[in-house]
């Protein structure tokens, strides 16, 4: 059964059809690169798969849940990295990651344990962990945000421009995160303009334009 099954999906941003009949099927363990010009509908496609945007028409299923009726059920199993980091500026990095782990249903000790592991994996210096997020650079915030998602060990990763604002080390960390997630059986959708970077992960390439999937390499290359 596909992890993502979209058939002629229309989704609106206000009155504008950001998705105008998109169809896509993604199997478990795939890495998919979404490419296309600005305003093509890539972010809306990711937000739809995250259960954050309701389909106006068409069939949309993610992880076996119908998004038109059961978007909330999908969210706990999905990690979505958008343009914002979703971190609380006045809390420390460690407190933020621990909070999001607990919010995802982990008990306090397991949340703290996973937070420590995820932050180390993101290459964040131990001295940074007790600092408030407001004192971090944009790249460090991005890494902390990814750590907050990683603690949940999601089945589906939805990453919108995950390399944006990161230095070379940070970019390598993101690539490793994606590779490790796929190796663990998760599915990853990446919307990116850094095509060469993501292509090194050997993804299936899906081109989105005008709210439609216009080209699909159709499976892992």
């Amino acid at each position: 059964m596909p992890v993502i099954q979209l058939c002629d999906v229309v989704a609106l941003l206000g009155r504008f059809p950001a998705l105008a009949g998109a169809s896509l099927s993604v199997e478990a363990g795939e890495t998919v690169l979404l490419q296309g010009p600005n305003g093509a509908g890539k972010t809306t496609l990711l937000r739809l798969c995250a259960g954050l945007v309701r389909p106006e028409s068409g069939q949309a299923q993610v992880l076996g849940h119908d998004l038109s009726v059961d978007g909330r059920a999908v969210r706990r199993q999905v990690a979505m990295l958008g343009h914002a980091t979703g971190l609380y500026e006045d809390l420390s990095v460690a407190e933020n990651v621990s909070f999001w782990a607990q919010a995802a249903g982990l008990d306090k000790s397991l949340a703290a344990q996973r937070a420590t592991g995820a932050l180390a994996r993101m290459g964040l210096d131990e001295r940074l962990l007790s600092l408030p997020v407001s004192r971090l650079s944009a790249g460090q915030r991005r890494r902390a945000s990814l750590a907050a998602l990683a603690v949940r060990r999601p089945q589906l990763w939805l990453l919108d421009e995950p390399h944006a604002g990161l230095d070379q080390t940070g970019r390598n960390v993101v690539d490793e995160l994606i590779s490790d997630a796929v190796a663990a059986g998760a599915t990853v959708l990446v919307a990116s303009h850094e095509l060469d970077r993501v292509r090194s992960l050997n993804p299936r390439v899906v081109t989105v334009a005008g709210g439609l999937v216009v080209k699909d390499t159709g499976g892992p290359k």
Binding site: R76, M80, G86, E89, L91, A103
Partner: protein, 224 residues
Amino acid sequence: MKSLLSEAWLVASKDLRIEARSRVLTNQVAPFAVLVLVLFGFALDADQRTLRMFAPGLFWVAVLLCLLLAVQRSSAVESADDAATGLRMAGLAPAAVFLGKSAAILVQLLVLELLLTAGIIVFYGSSVKNLFLWLIAGLVTALAVAATGTLYGALASGLGVRETLLPILLLPVLAPVLIGATRAYDDALGAAAVDGWAWTGLLAMFAVVASTLGALAYGALVED
């Protein structure tokens, strides 16, 4: 139920920790509350007899003005870096988020009520004649306005113009609470001979209705 309460506690403790770190309550809201009391004193020509008579109403107007700041701050914390989307993605029950955010505002309001009570005693020469009524009426009123404020904060935030629209939406709804709380404190502070407990009962009903409606409606308000 246990999960709902533990999620609500998680959200409340997070909001209170943020307030403790940012010190917005102590450095901005509390001085504002005291300033409002002082300005009322100037406006009424510092006549202590008049101030004592109107102290309950002035007290609750000051609380409502502070509530606006607390609700705006509570919404701003979630919208600053789109943490609100994170809360939705975490799969937390919307009712738990509502209860948690209401509880955090409630705690802040209770602290402010203590400060404002000290303020009216010092500046207006008021005194608490019925301590138990003062305590219960203060608690249920704070509960009522915290729940209503959280709900309308989410509504205004969803409309995208919370800073300007919130007072216009919220204050008319809280007008009955202002009347009831003022009457209850008229009795508690000995400013007028009314049955404060009857008004406190009405305030408790308002608090229950606002909390229940808020818990039920919050999910619909925070969804796109």
